[in-house]
């Protein structure tokens, strides 16, 4: 019978034992189980089985005290507790509630008892909370601190290790295949050069209030009496460039344009073409730490790439880093441009 009653199910048998629902064989099996498991007798439920009573007599004691609650019974001094508990449990019919109320009012002792039963209803202390709910949640990407810190550290090292010393060039632009489209040519060519004045051919611009504006006509001459003044005024222009089919407006016409303009009477177009050729393409960059980036990619199961190129006289330098979907790049100017500055 010990196969029937075990440590997992003995409580159910215990209740049935108390309620007198066990048949003779089950009753004997339960008592045998208790004898075989004396440690269970230390359980408060079973405590009273131990010293005061023999196992054989216990069932009688418990069963004697066990009363099946019949809600239709008349409330008496013997069964009033059942009704009080049913009342606080909201299990009593309205008629019985009235009967209980009448019963209670007869005796202060019962009133006190009923008040005590009402007080047995427990309420949770809602100040006790589980503070780590976020750790339980799923399906939300929470970067691991270690991973996050590693990536941040790599980014910081790269960002500060590569010099970026040309303030005239825009920084943080994507390094990628690109086309440059000049929205409007600023100055096509210099057509004359006198002592203190220059006539330049600017097809679509004119000066108004010190600012150059796009004009309708294609042949406009603009005399610049003071060369240096012209250079200052011409130092920055907006052009539209295409980077991987995305249009982006940037400011160009840096001082290397001016230098060409001033010294060589060179076509601005030529200068722009030179600048275009100075652009750094992604394919021209190399990964100086391929082993490291491959290792990091492998470890974190995230694509990590690093590309760098040093600036030459005519060529931009810069870096490009990619971690998963995150990309960051930065360019440095060609050495020639820096020399002019």
């Amino acid at each position: 019978m010990s196969l029937l009653i075990n440590i997992e199910n003995y409580e159910a048998f215990y209740l049935d034992f108390l309620e007198g629902n066990l048949n003779e064989v089950e009753n004997r099996a339960f008592l045998t189980f208790l004898e075989e498991n004396p440690d269970l007798i230390q359980d408060e439920n079973l405590m009273s089985f131990s010293s005061e009573n023999s196992l054989e007599s216990l069932d009688n004691n418990f069963i004697k005290n066990l009363k099946v609650f019949d809600k239709t019974e008349t409330i008496t001094a013997e069964n009033y507790e059942n009704f009080m508990i049913a009342s606080v449990e909201n299990q009593l019919a309205a008629t019985k509630q009235t009967e209980l109320k009448d019963f209670i009012t007869k005796d202060k002792k019962f009133q006190a008892e009923f008040i005590l039963y009402k007080k047995t209803i427990l309420s949770p202390d809602e100040t006790i909370i589980y503070s780590e709910k976020n750790k339980l949640k799923r399906g939300i990407v929470i970067p691991l601190y270690g991973k996050f810190i590693s990536i941040a550290a790599v980014l910081a090292i790269i960002f500060f290790a590569i010099p970026t010393n040309n303030p005239n060039l825009s920084s943080g632009e994507l390094v990628a295949s690109r086309k440059i489209k000049i929205e409007y040519p600023i100055i096509k060519r210099i057509i004359s050069d006198k002592k203190n004045s220059k006539s330049i051919f600017g097809p679509t611009i004119s000066k108004k209030n010190g600012v150059y504006h796009k004009l309708e006509t294609s042949e406009i001459q603009h005399n610049l009496e003071d060369n240096s003044l012209a250079l200052i005024e011409l130092k920055v222009r907006k052009v539209t460039i295409e980077i991987d089919s995305r249009k982006k407006e940037i400011e160009v016409f840096p001082s290397d344009f001016a230098a060409n303009f001033k010294n060589n009477k060179k076509s601005v177009y030529n200068t722009i073409e030179e600048q275009e050729s100075s652009y750094l393409a992604f394919s021209e960059m190399k990964n100086p730490a391929k082993i490291v980036t491959n290792g990091v990619s492998e470890k974190f199961k995230t694509k990590v790439d690093l590309r760098t190129a040093k600036a030459s006289n005519k060529k931009q330098g810069g870096f490009f880093i990619k971690i998963g979907k995150f990309e960051l790049s930065r360019k440095t100017a060609p050495q020639d441009a820096l020399a002019v500055n």
Binding site: I128, Y130, L136
Partner: protein
């Protein structure tokens, strides 16, 4: 149940399960373990669990985790002794600001057998019906009623002993 529904369940029921476990185990670390274990098990089976039944599923899982934890404690007598000493101190401190009735009720609750404690907590804290409690605890409905009856009697006797008669 999808991840979103699961996360809502975390927000709604983690506190309740924690309180339920803490009342049984009287040890914050063990109670937290129960919460973690419960939600982990539910997440493993989240595709099978219907959202409407999530609370019942969580409490069923938590109840069994608590029973396992209690059994482990009983098997480790030294641990049990030390832990309960610490737990009772913690509880005494935690409840020191509460009113007298709450303190006495807590003492009374802690004296109840685990099964009585479970059913009365599920009944009072969570408002479960006898049928739902029976489902969670794998008891019959009549057994649940008997346990609740005994629990209320014990609580009342304890209150009476401490002269909290109006």
């Amino acid at each position: 149940m999808n991840a979103k529904e699961y996360n809502i369940a975390v927000e709604l029921y983690a506190d309740n399960i924690y309180r339920f476990a803490l009342k049984h185990l009287k040890n914050e670390a063990l109670a937290k373990d129960v919460v973690q274990e419960t939600f982990m098990k539910v997440w493993i089976k989240h595709e099978e669990v219907e959202q409407e039944k999530i609370k019942s599923y969580l409490f069923t899982t938590a109840y069994h985790a608590i029973i396992d934890s209690v059994k482990k404690e009983k098997r480790s007598a030294d641990f049990d002794l030390v832990d309960k000493t610490q737990a009772s101190d913690t509880f005494a401190d935690a409840e020191s600001n509460n009113n007298e009735l709450k303190v006495i009720l807590d003492q009374a609750l802690n004296r109840l057998p685990e099964i009585q404690k479970s059913v009365v907590l599920l009944r009072d804290y969570e408002g479960y019906s006898y049928e739902e409690i029976a489902e969670i605890t794998s008891l019959t409905e009549s057994q649940v009623k008997v346990y609740i009856f005994r629990a209320r009697q014990s609580l009342k006797i304890h209150l009476k002993e401490h002269s909290l008669v109006a």
